[in-house]
């Protein structure tokens, strides 16, 4: 009879559309509010994540900068304290969770000339593994390798903006570019990264081998940044401690003293910045939850009203053989089905609004499937609670009494 109860419940809902719609209104609105609130928050979080990814590349890394707390902002060869050296990078490779260590020297506003134009760019001298660690892709040509690095080759890989500004539409690879007056051959162009957190382009930059930069450009071997690639990003915190321990030991810094380096995790940074649960959004979320609860009360109320106007129907069903359990199931399933259908309607409207908003207004919206599932599950649970008492009252109706009424 259980299957029969479902189909009876469904039939009643279909044939009393107005009543069922009113019953489900609260649930539908609640789910809609929750879906939209979460989607806007999730959208903002993803936007932050995207811009961070454009800046730092891969997220499963740790960054090691020279200088302790005194060092502010990003270290470059102009500002960096001379504390990190290539041997530090070698030492970090011994840590089990470390997959690779990239080395970098950087200089902002480095003068470059090519194709009769001149300007500045953010120049990086990196170890050959840097591109792989960052996860950059090469749009044209190639990145430099270990042989280029050892040979102190004058080769350069430029960002998308540099390629566009200096070489226009024509191929940059094979062309000559002067960096700080030194002639380099362009061997590759990177794919565009887009904008970073501040909205600035992450494509106005150029890479040369770190061997070349330390010997031919800066005449210094210390590093302005190390990028420690992790095997398991989930162990980021313990690996960070291990990195600090190794570097303190190498730099002979007591555990209680301030270090001359700083280790940071982009994952942790994003988590801090992307915490976009504003008061307004929290309030909206609570409105959604409240609407769900009120929706449950609406269902209970209307089910009570409906069962008293359906006393005769219930009595007839009892007369032709329905047991109390049959009646209980039929009425209860009605409440659960109304809640389920209403939740799905709210969900669909919400998702449609998200898709529309994303397309038409360029909103940053992202639906959250776990929340969508949870909202439906909560609605069904509310329907179960709301429908139980009316169903029990309907089941307790004595057929002989209701049949005598006319």
């Amino acid at each position: 009879m259980t299957r029969g109860s479902w189909s009876l419940a469904l039939r009643t809902i279909r044939r009393a559309k107005l009543r069922s719609s009113l019953m489900g209104l609260g649930i539908a609105l609640g789910v809609l509010a929750i879906v939209l609130t979460v989607a806007t928050g999730e959208g903002a979080r993803r936007a932050v994540q995207r811009s961070f990814k454009a800046m730092v590349g891969s997220l499963d890394v740790l960054f090691v900068q020279p200088g302790g707390r005194a060092q502010r902002g990003m270290a470059t060869m102009e500002s960096a304290v001379a504390t990190l050296v290539p041997e530090d990078a070698e030492a970090l490779r011994a840590i089990p969770n470390v997959a690779d260590v990239g080395m970098q020297q950087s200089a902002q506003n480095t003068p470059i000339e090519a194709g009769g134009k001149s300007g500045t760019t953010f120049l990086f001298g990196t170890s050959p593994n840097w591109r792989a660690i960052r996860g950059d892709s090469v749009a044209a040509g190639r990145y430099f390798g270990a042989d280029d690095d050892q040979a102190l080759a004058r080769v350069i890989v430029v960002g998308a903006d540099v390629a566009r500004d200096f070489f226009g539409g024509s191929a940059a690879v094979g062309q000559t570019m002067r960096v700080n007056g030194v002639e380099f051959e362009v061997i590759g162009v990177l794919a565009a990264n887009g904008a970073g957190p501040g909205g600035a382009s992450m494509d106005n930059l150029a890479y040369i081998p770190i061997g070349t930069s330390s010997r031919r450009l800066f005449n210094r071997n210390y590093l302005s940044l190390m990028s420690v690639k992790l095997r398991d990003a989930a162990q980021s915190a313990t690996t960070q401690q291990a990195v600090e321990r190794v570097l303190r030991e190498r730099h002979s810094i007591a555990a209680t003293a301030l270090p001359d380096f700083r280790v940071s995790s982009p994952g942790a940074m994003i988590a801090r910045v992307a915490n976009v649960d504003t008061t307004l959004r929290k309030a909206l979320l609570w409105v959604g939850v409240l609407a769900l609860v009120i929706g449950g009360a609406m269902i209970a109320n209307l089910m009570f009203a409906a069962t008293s106007s359906r006393r005769r129907e219930i009595a007839i069903r009892r007369a032709v053989g329905a047991t109390r359990a049959d009646i209980l199931r039929q009425i209860w399933f009605e409440a659960v089905l109304v809640a389920l259908v209403a939740a799905i309607v709210g969900e669909v409207i919400g998702l449609a609004a998200i898709a529309l908003g994303a397309r038409m207004m360029g909103f940053s919206l992202a639906p959250s499937w776990p929340v969508a599932g949870a909202a439906i599950a909560a609605s069904v649970a509310i329907g179960m609670v709301a429908g139980f008492l009316p169903a029990r009252r309907a089941a307790a109706l004595h057929p002989s009494v209701a049949l005598r009424e006319s």
Partner: protein
């Protein structure tokens, strides 16, 4: 088939219990067609509800086909009504927003699952001449048509006992006569029929007429009944 022995039914009135039927004993054999007559308020409907297992006696014993109904629980009574008894009411009592066919299907929903339910529904709808109206809602049917659908619903599960409470009360004379002809046919096919009416014309269709006055069987009325082919009433002493 029906054995009522000294059955009394009292209801909670306002402050004092009200006796609806008092010390009624009645035997009905399988295949009988019995009409219960009496003025309104005489306890006819209460008696019918007890016979139909919609209600249980306050005292006395009701045995239906040998088993003691008084000792059955609610679920067992539901099953008994489903398998054994068909009901026809004065106000038709079709379920609203439910087509004629769906109304007729209802008892099958609550019974043991079986094959051929659709064919059976078609069969009984055809039997009462309502197959062409199967998809209509009760609101779109005339009184006579509604009562035909109700009869189809009452017999769809092949009951042994058909209980009818003033089945022609809301119908004009001609339609009422047609419905009574239908009852006559069902009775000839072997159904036991117990019918309540206050219309003497309707009662003539029955093989036996039992009169109820103030909740008690009236022997004089019974004595005045037409000759019966079945067992005489086991009259309770008064």
């Amino acid at each position: 088939m029906i054995h009522l022995e000294h059955v009394t039914k009292t209801f909670d009135g306002f402050g004092s219990p009200v006796t609806a039927i008092h010390d009624v004993s009645l035997h009905v054999d399988a295949g009988e067609f019995v009409a219960i007559v009496g003025p309104s308020g005489s306890g006819k409907s209460t008696l019918l509800q007890i016979l139909g297992c919609l209600d249980v006696p306050s005292s006395g014993r009701y045995r239906l086909n040998g088993s003691d109904v008084s000792s059955l629980d609610d679920d067992a009574l539901s099953r008994l009504r489903n398998e054994y008894i068909g009901f026809v009411f004065q106000s038709f009592n079709l379920i609203p927003r439910t087509t004629a066919r769906e109304n007729v299907e209802t008892p099958l929903l609550y019974g043991a699952p079986g094959n051929g339910a659709d064919a059976r529904v078609d069969e009984v709808l055809g039997r009462v001449g309502m197959l062409h109206r199967a998809k209509h809602y009760p609101e779109a049917l005339s009184g006579g048509e509604q009562q035909r659908v109700a009869i189809a619903r009452a017999i769809v599960n092949r009951p042994k006992l058909l209980i009818a409470d003033e089945p022609t009360g809301n119908l004009d004379q001609q339609t009422g006569a047609e419905i009574m002809r239908l009852f006559g046919e069902l009775h000839r096919d072997g159904l036991t029929v117990v019918l309540v009416t206050h219309d003497p014309q309707v009662a003539t269709a029955a093989g036996r007429v039992v009169s109820l006055v103030d909740g008690m069987l009236d022997s004089s009325a019974d004595a005045a009944a037409r000759p019966v082919s079945a067992t005489p009433v086991a009259q309770a002493p008064r």
